[in-house]
């Protein structure tokens, strides 16, 4: 969902910024580490990623997305660390597009760091994992949603903070099935990521009982977002493109790179809602999420970053906060102790989602409730009522143990 992120809050957010209390000086004072504190270092690797320019400028991913979330968690951890005599620091590393994963892992290890948050695509993440084989390293995947990383390509030295594509499409499908909007018109884009999303949503439809009554390919792989008076053409195009004979409840779009998805709503031939990568979409976090104490998190983040919190920021926060929780509970700053606690049976952390989140032992994916949301605000949270599971309802989302192909090593 990275191309569906929302910048809007950064604009009007500035308007109410002054009204928020800014006790940063007091907070900074409160965070002076005790002299005998154990030092816990965390690395943040930002690998250059090509992100297509979205149709809507509200969806441009800020350059520091992810990092600012991790910074906030380090600040939260340090407030706790005053009482537990632990001090957390975050060190940032860049991995340029043509950069080599091997030397970077070496450098981080030389800096004495084994806990590494990674904002990268699947290929780079795997390269880092290969380079770290046999070394005291745990990689936290913040950004790569590919199911394959949780299945045949899973690794013992990677934990997945970001939900998998399967979790996202299962979450959305449960919601649509609950609404009884089960007759879908599926429109898939021509890029590879669109096909992957389309496959995932098809599996979810089969799993929960939705039907794809018609399917169409949107063949353009690129489109300039900005053309003067382009709207006239777009509204004609979308109307004729969606004029089909089959009756359906909802248009489901698979358009990860945002070539056409946001054009669908209100321009379709029939008055039908839109879901998928646009319209009602599944995501781990929403800038307008305020349930379960999230208001405080949103306020803290805005104070720190001067913009609203994106899903990638949430992943950065959750990864660094999980490390903090494991350090507090294991009462240790030691890499092995923290890793073992994180992956052990007792680990769980509160993440403003109404229940604790923890790692699935079969593929090291963080299980978590998923928001169904429009750009404006969350509509609902999955798992939906009635989708039962023998162990935990949240495990109805994504790859469950019996279907796991992951062999951790």
């Amino acid at each position: 969902m990275l191309n569906r992120l929302f910048l809007s809050g950064a604009f009007f957010g500035a308007l109410f910024f002054v009204s928020l209390a800014v006790p940063s000086e007091r907070r900074a004072q409160a965070q002076t580490p005790p002299p005998d504190a154990a030092q816990i270092q965390i690395a943040y690797v930002n690998a250059a990623q090509e992100r297509p320019l979205p149709i809507s400028r509200l969806n441009i991913v800020p350059g520091d997305a992810g990092l600012r979330g991790a910074e906030l968690a380090v600040s939260d951890n340090n407030t706790t660390g005053r009482f537990t005599k632990q001090h957390f620091t975050l060190k940032q590393y860049e991995l340029p597009k043509a950069g080599d994963a091997g030397p970077l892992i070496e450098r981080i290890l030389q800096d004495g760091i084994g806990l590494i948050l990674v904002s990268a695509n699947a290929e780079t993440l795997l390269a880092l994992s290969n380079a770290a084989q046999g070394k005291p390293v745990l990689l936290f995947n913040l950004d790569a949603e590919e199911n394959s990383l949780r299945q045949e390509d899973c690794r013992a030295n990677i934990v997945h903070i970001t939900p998998s594509q399967a979790m996202l499409t299962d979450a959305l499908t449960q919601f649509l099935v609950l609404k009884q909007w089960t007759r879908w018109f599926l429109v898939t884009g021509a890029n590879q990521t669109d096909k992957t999303y389309s496959e995932a949503i098809r599996k979810s439809a089969q799993k929960f009982g939705a039907q794809i009554v018609e399917e169409k390919l949107y063949a353009h792989t690129d489109a300039a977002a900005r053309t003067d008076s382009g709207h006239a053409q777009v509204q004609k195009q979308m109307a004729s493109f969606t004029q089909i004979s089959a009756d359906y409840d909802i248009i489901v779009v698979a358009d990860e790179s945002e070539i056409f998805g946001p054009y669908m709503a209100y321009r379709s031939w029939s008055p039908r809602p839109v879901a998928g990568t646009s319209g009602a979409a599944a995501m781990s976090w929403h800038p307008a999420h305020e349930q379960w104490g999230a208001t405080q998190m949103q306020n803290r983040f805005f104070e720190l970053a001067g913009r609203v919190m994106q899903p990638l920021d949430f992943h950065g926060w959750l990864a660094a906060r999980a490390i903090g929780e494991a350090a507090t509970r294991s009462a240790s700053g030691d890499f092995a102790a923290i890793r073992d606690y994180l992956l052990g049976p007792d680990f769980g952390v509160a993440a403003f989602k109404g229940q604790k989140v923890s790692f699935r032992p079969w593929n090291q994916q963080m299980r978590q409730p998923i928001a169904i949301a429009t750009t404006e605000m969350p509509i609902s949270w999955s798992p939906q009522p009635g989708f039962l599971h023998q162990r935990a309802e949240v495990d109805t989302l994504g790859i469950d143990e019996p279907e796991s192909k992951c062999e951790l090593r």
């Binding site: 407030t79 009482f83 104490g293 306020n299 803290r300 109404g354 309802e393």
Partner: protein, 326 residues
């Protein structure tokens, strides 16, 4: 305090709503988080008698020791409102710090200790002179507030730091921290001060702590057939004055757990409304009142028989409850 009229007493007697001996004239004040109102329930007739508008997002609610004023956290207004219990009028606001959610009054009636969730602070406010006396830095997202019966120790729980912070009320300094399970929401001392009960919403447990040793005596877990473990989320807790029973609101499990406070074993679960949040006894401990956020009602629990005897519709998302002392 409102004295029951002859009419009320007669009516209550006639239709049998209030058993003989219950007619104490108590009123319960319910903060309706979504409606920005307070509902007032007459505890003789068990009916809503008044509803009045207050500030935005009313949550924590308590009364001054003399019963004259209702104190209310208007979270989104960043104030604590002081409401005349007789006239239902807001007479003043206290400087609370941002986003007050819960608070506790010193047993002497002053000062008020307020948890400021956004600020990692507890603010100490003199409610007579409307002055901030101190700001105490605590863990991330301070929430639950308890105070020892002798007033010497104030306890705050922090939801993201997951600790109960013990504060000496003379020096306003933290003297000890006890790590509890995830998202501690509420702290309640027993009347003899020998135990502190702390609920952990996401951890799903209640920690019973020895406040003199700052050690956990026991962590109590919950189990209800047919309810997923992640829905068992303890929030409000109250212990009877004789130290015999503790009642714990279990949030989305829609139940109040009854715990034998001597053996620290759960004895039964009472089915109440949806997303049960906070609890309050009547001063005679005849009734326990639970706020049920998602069903917009409160449940009246008869403490002696441990039975839910009535549900009363209030405003939307009832959150907190307090009962007049006289």
């Amino acid at each position: 305090m409102q004295l029951p009229t002859m009419h009320t007493i007669l009516l209550a007697g006639l239709i049998g709503l209030a058993p003989v001996g219950a007619a104490q004239g108590y009123e319960a004040y319910i903060s309706n988080e979504k409606d920005n109102t307070v509902s007032v329930i007459d505890l003789d007739t068990l009916e809503v008698v008044r509803t009045y508008p207050v500030g935005q997002r009313p949550r924590g609610i308590t009364m001054t020791k003399d019963g004259k004023y209702v104190l209310l956290c208007a979270s989104d207004d960043d104030t604590v409102q002081v409401i005349d219990a007789k006239t239902d009028k807001i007479v003043k606001t206290l400087p609370s710090g941002p986003d007050p959610e819960l608070f506790v009054l010193h047993p002497s009636g002053n000062p008020l200790y307020i948890a400021n969730e956004d600020d990692n602070l507890v603010t100490v406010v003199d409610i007579e002179n409307d002055k901030v006396l101190a700001e105490i830095p605590v863990g991330v997202e301070p929430e639950g507030m308890g105070i020892s019966p002798d007033g010497s120790v104030m306890v705050n729980t922090s939801e993201t730091t997951n600790m109960a912070h013990f504060v000496d009320t003379k020096s306003n300094q933290i003297v000890a921290n006890v790590l509890v399970d995830s998202r501690p929401r509420f702290a309640e001392f027993t009347s003899d001060g020998s135990q502190l009960w702390v609920t952990s919403e996401i951890g799903g447990t209640v920690a019973v702590i020895d406040p003199s040793k700052h050690e956990i005596i026991k962590k109590i877990g919950f189990e209800v057939p047919g309810v997923q473990p992640e829905a068992l989320q303890p929030v409000g807790v109250r212990v009877t004055r004789d130290g015999q029973y503790a009642f714990v609101a279990l949030g989305p499990a829609n139940r109040v757990a009854v715990i034998n406070a001597k053996t620290l074993e759960v004895e039964q679960y009472l089915l109440v409304g949806q997303r049960v949040w906070q609890l309050a006894f009547t001063p005679d401990e005849k009734y326990l009142i639970s706020t049920n956020g998602n069903s917009n009602d409160v449940s009246i629990i008869d403490v002696a028989s441990q039975e839910v005897i009535k549900s009363i519709q209030v405003g939307r998302l009832p959150w907190g409850v307090t009962v007049s002392p006289n």
